[in-house]
Symmetry: C2
Subunit: 414 residues, 2 copies
């Protein structure tokens, strides 16, 4: 592939934009509270729309509130190449999760315009509605509706805890647009995002070339033994459900270690009756298994189920284990991945391949349109937290690679 | 020691008495709800008082509601030998916990009277107030006040969840007696009780010769790691507090297995933040260590503390462990233990030595007066439950050994 033109983004302008828009929903602890379709969301949406229109873009909004700002390209026979992410946040969210992906796209567009550079395909910036799922469950409603994961009706009907639906909340802030969902077509989506994990930081890499999203399997396990008095019941006469669960947690961890880069975790555990002087009679816990390869994910499931059954049998415990949720792995577009990798090389930035452990808008979009992602580090891997932090240098690096990847991908149409 | 006179209790009368009084507070599931100083407690107390007076006993009641029914002996220079336990129950208690000890004492007394047998020392039956601690915490308030563990004022001030004090509740049912606590003196206390554990049943023994009560040490442990996203955090970059706790639970179990007949248990565990897709950042749990020998109990404490520290260090976890409660071991009177053992032999009943894992009135009394206990099996070791069950044969066996032990002990004064 030919190197893309050497356009350089403006790191200061990007950072200033990040800090300026962080005022919409700013929290005392330096984070953002900008729930989907809230007044704060309206403020940042209005700002974004004005900023795009000031650049000469056409901004269109679909019935789910997804926003599409388009700058024409040299050719009119091509669908746009899209860049974007989301502007909504968690209730006590940080300044970078999602926001960086939209504002870096804006910075890329501003750079093109500054340089008077005309792409072959149109360029589109997307802001997806309700990625976080913090106000309206489930997460990624806007991109999910676009990708046909949810119907428009289902997305509209999603309600917050007060019973307000997404449609009603969007209507209140003026963001139920006229365009039917999924009619704002594009040919490819690049999404820049903070990693929300510790891998890049630990490996001293600035750019994560995201090759896909891990498949996820959730299981629910109930272990039953026999409640008994801790003082009156000798060790050898116990059927201790918590001891059994402890051995199962160790076994699940071993399955994770044996299937790197897969992960295996027990996040939730309830011990019953949970009294200091009662040998636990029942434990409920959940298993979270992830791997980028569907076949290996299945092997992990089988290894866990088998290990847990063996432990239960050896300890005379009863066990019930069943699958609670499954999300298949997503493989991103090889051609787009190559553009990201080349874009990092071109910028002289240390990069490594990485698989996303979390869901993202691009993961849904990848089911219907070629898509990929770029990760930059965040401090200590902390996200969904007001302490979420990314450096100006890393944000600029991500925006530069986003621009490079866009131009590299666009180069095929020249 | 000379064999005691061969008097035989009446198994049918004992069982009928158990079933008759089980009507005071009877539950639909076949248990008893007879909380301390409740109306149901008044009913059984009145019944007990009348039954003792019908046998010619003097019944005295102290200011904490403890009841003492005395039949004179041949000699007037001796303090009574006491038999007894408690008539209060858990909210959904069984028909035998405590009750058997009082009604078997009554059956022993009835047998003496039937046979016209005069003991050397007076015989006393005791019903201790609020042994269960279910309505008024802590447990064993009546025997504890008698033994000087609690002041009378503290016992009186203990309040239930509605704010009613023990003194007020006893006053309502007419059982704040005129006698100052601990002035109803006796020289020894035998307490028959169901085992509330599975040892006798598993060992096919009818009589447990109780040699003492285990010492108890409770610890509280907090393990701190780092909350992290289950999907975005590779196995080797985790500081998983729950995995650490799982290894600690295994280590604590190993300490128990290495110090039989001691026991080591984790009964209560709280996992934080306890979410399916978050690697746990903090776990709180409790440790319950018990051993009849104070020195070995200390060794168990040290073994646990050392093992937990090692695990935390190896896993880069922070740990806080501190002692929450300590109750020293109780050794029962060797002379009285010998009388119980001899009483079982005399009755031809299979017996074994056993240490009580739970607290009992006799454990407090043993601090100031010679005391011991007799255990009989209960089905599956289940107690504090409406399903609590003991056979008529085992109840009768316990009552017979109680009578034999009384007569054996009394024989020294002939």
């Amino acid at each position: 592939m030919a190197a893309a033109p050497n356009l350089v983004i403006n790191p200061t302008r990007l950072w200033d934009t990040l800090m300026q828009t962080a005022q919409y929903g700013a929290t005392a602890k330096g984070g953002i509270r900008r729930l989907a379709a809230s007044e704060e969301d309206r403020q940042v949406r209005d700002w974004f729309k004005n900023a795009c229109e000031a650049l000469g873009c056409t901004v269109q909004i679909d019935t789910c509130g997804n926003m599409f700002a388009t700058r024409p390209g040299r050719r009119t026979d091509l669908l746009p190449i899209a860049l974007g992410s989301h502007l909504d946040t968690q209730p006590t969210g940080g300044k970078f999760d999602g926001v960086l992906g939209v504002l870096a796209a804006l910075e890329a567009l501003r750079t093109l315009i500054d340089m008077g550079y005309e792409t072959n395909a149109p360029v589109m910036i997307v802001n997806w509605t309700n990625e976080e799922g913090a106000r309206f469950a489930p997460a990624m409603l806007g991109s999910g509706a676009y990708a046909g994961i949810f119907t428009e009706e289902a997305a509209h009907a999603a309600a917050d805890r007060e019973g307000t639906t997404l449609q009603s909340a969007l209507s209140t802030i003026g963001y139920v647009g006229p365009e039917p969902v999924a009619t704002q077509r594009f040919q490819a989506l690049f999404e820049l995002h903070i990693e929300q994990g510790p891998i890049l930081e630990a490996d001293n890499k600035t750019i994560g070339v995201v090759t896909g999203v891990q498949g996820i399997s959730w299981f629910e396990v109930t272990v039953n033994g026999q409640e008994a008095h801790t003082g009156a019941t000798p060790m050898h006469l116990r059927r201790n459900a918590l001891l059994g669960a402890a051995r199962m947690i160790e076994a699940i961890n071993t399955v994770g270690l044996a299937h790197v880069p897969g992960v295996a975790s027990v996040g939730l555990l309830e011990n019953r009756p949970n009294s200091r002087n009662v040998v636990p009679g029942e434990v409920f816990f959940t298993i979270d298994l992830r791997h980028p390869d569907a076949t290996i994910l299945t092997q992990m499931e089988q290894a866990c189920q088998s290990a847990l059954s063996d432990i239960a049998t050896a300890m005379n415990l009863d066990i019930d284990q069943h699958r609670a949720w499954h999300s298949p792995p997503v493989l991103f577009s090889p051609a787009m991945i190559a553009c990201v990798r080349q874009g990092a090389t071109q910028a002289g930035l240390p990069a490594r391949d990485i698989t996303s452990g979390a869901g993202h808008d691009a993961a849904y979009i990848a089911r219907i349109v070629p898509a990929t992602m770029i990760f930059v580090p965040c401090l200590n891997g902390v996200s969904h937290n007001e302490a979420e932090s990314a450096t100006p240098q890393d944000c600029a690096a991500g925006a530069q690679v986003l621009l490079n990847a866009l131009l590299g991908y666009d180069g095929q149409f020249g």
